[in-house]
Symmetry: C2
Subunit: 257 residues, 2 copies
């Protein structure tokens, strides 16, 4: 298997960077090939703008989607985005390793998604009937993706009825809205709670769990999100059919029982 790991932390000695090293080492031990994008080390440009689109007419009003569509049609991307596209197409699996800041990914990783998951690649795909191809279908169908993240709070403050909300729901906009949207099957995330207090002993236990998760990466059951065009949603309204999870709302209804 070929795996692209994204690392988003400014400090090489951080827990986050250590988790990325453990994951990489375990994949390699299994004979998998790895490429790692260390966003901070690469000084990754976070903000999408007209400079991302070398062919865009700078005298015209800048429209992000049009720029991205034009770049797709003319295969004209900035050099840094081109390199990431190559890794992304090469890889069978995608792993994001990051600290959970303000209930999501760090800006620098979000900037990678905004610039690399571009039109025709991460979004903006339609089939011959002009049906929107996403959520379970798309360029990355058949590939797997996983989040590895450290969270400062304790696990009990991210469970079902805790004040911060359940971690599954907080990660839904990434697992479902980014990975599954682009066609990836999202694996259950690897989450380290209480991540500011990890001593040597605790790290050993965490490392061992993470190695186990990497060892079972290809056999682990993905989160069973319902595919948009698989029959569970009305077309074109895209509502979950009434007889499925009847009367319920919220993110969980989009997971098969």
């Amino acid at each position: 298997m070929k795996v692209l790991i994204l690392l988003a932390h400014p400090e090489k000695a951080s827990l986050t960077a250590s988790l990325a090293r453990v994951a990489k080492d375990q994949f390699e031990k299994q004979g998998d090939e790895i490429q790692l994008t260390d966003l901070y080390a690469q000084n990754w440009k976070s903000a999408i703008d007209i400079d991302d689109f070398p062919h865009y007419d700078k005298s015209e009003k800048f429209n992000v989607i049009l720029g991205s569509k034009q770049a797709y049609e003319e295969n004209a991307y900035s050099e840094d985005v081109k390199k990431e596209h190559e890794k992304l197409f090469w890889a069978d699996a995608l792993v994001f390793v990051f600290p959970f800041w303000w209930f999501s990914m760090p800006a620098i990783l979000r900037g990678w998604v905004e610039r690399v998951f571009s039109y025709g690649i991460g979004y903006g795909r339609y089939d011959d009937d002009k049906k929107h191809v996403r959520y379970g279908d798309g360029l990355f169908k058949g590939k797997r993706a996983m989040l590895i993240t450290g969270i400062g709070g304790k696990g009990n403050t991210y469970s079902g009825r805790s004040v911060s909300g359940p971690i599954e729901d907080l990660l839904f906009p990434i697992n479902h809205g980014i990975f599954f949207y682009a066609g990836y099957q999202a694996l259950p995330p690897f989450v380290v709670f209480d991540s500011n207090f990890v001593d040597e002993n605790r790290f050993k236990a965490i490392e061992s769990s993470l190695r186990e998760r990497i060892a079972t990466f290809e056999s682990t059951k993905p989160i069973a999100y319902r595919s948009q065009n698989g029959g569970d949603y009305t077309i074109p309204q895209l509502q979950l059919k009434e007889e499925l999870a009847p009367g319920k709302e919220g993110f969980k209804i989009h997971i098969l029982d």
Copy 2:
């Protein structure tokens, strides 16, 4: 009222920038004072790193929270963050104007939150009993905040049982996890769906609705999130008490009926 508006879009002629201009104009017509941070125009640095903390010993391992805590105690921030802090403390209200990208805010705006909502200001506040002060309490208690955003999809794909999830839940990590976390009362968001297809006539209708929302900014009922330390949650487990929204889970239980 003094209002700080954050604008996150690279194009001055975009719908997003137009919405920010309408909001600013309406506030000013009412006699409110405005400061506007145009993140792209300011070439805002998105990624938090050791350069944000001039006093940090660069030979030491870099820890983001320690760096931010030290900066708070010594009032030693980078110049760009200092300027944003001044605006933030000056303002009675905070408004974010941005395109909804990948189910959240653009990287550049997230980078503003990461760097400006720093330790002791946006997070890391404790009272004399070492109780964690957040979610309804905090430095910005008594102030109001609001999101203004444009979304490419149609409204029916962001309602209760649609495939993308309800917009209220998708915005919860910002309204509850950023604004309310830091003490702000979050107003219902102003959302423009189908935002890639706004002609002159539609824009007039949108402008009129937005002016109405700004005109009623001080009287609009905020989203009734339950405060963490107000009695609805068990301490220190921070679980919603069993008798409230009994048997239910998800983000909605954190809103008073």
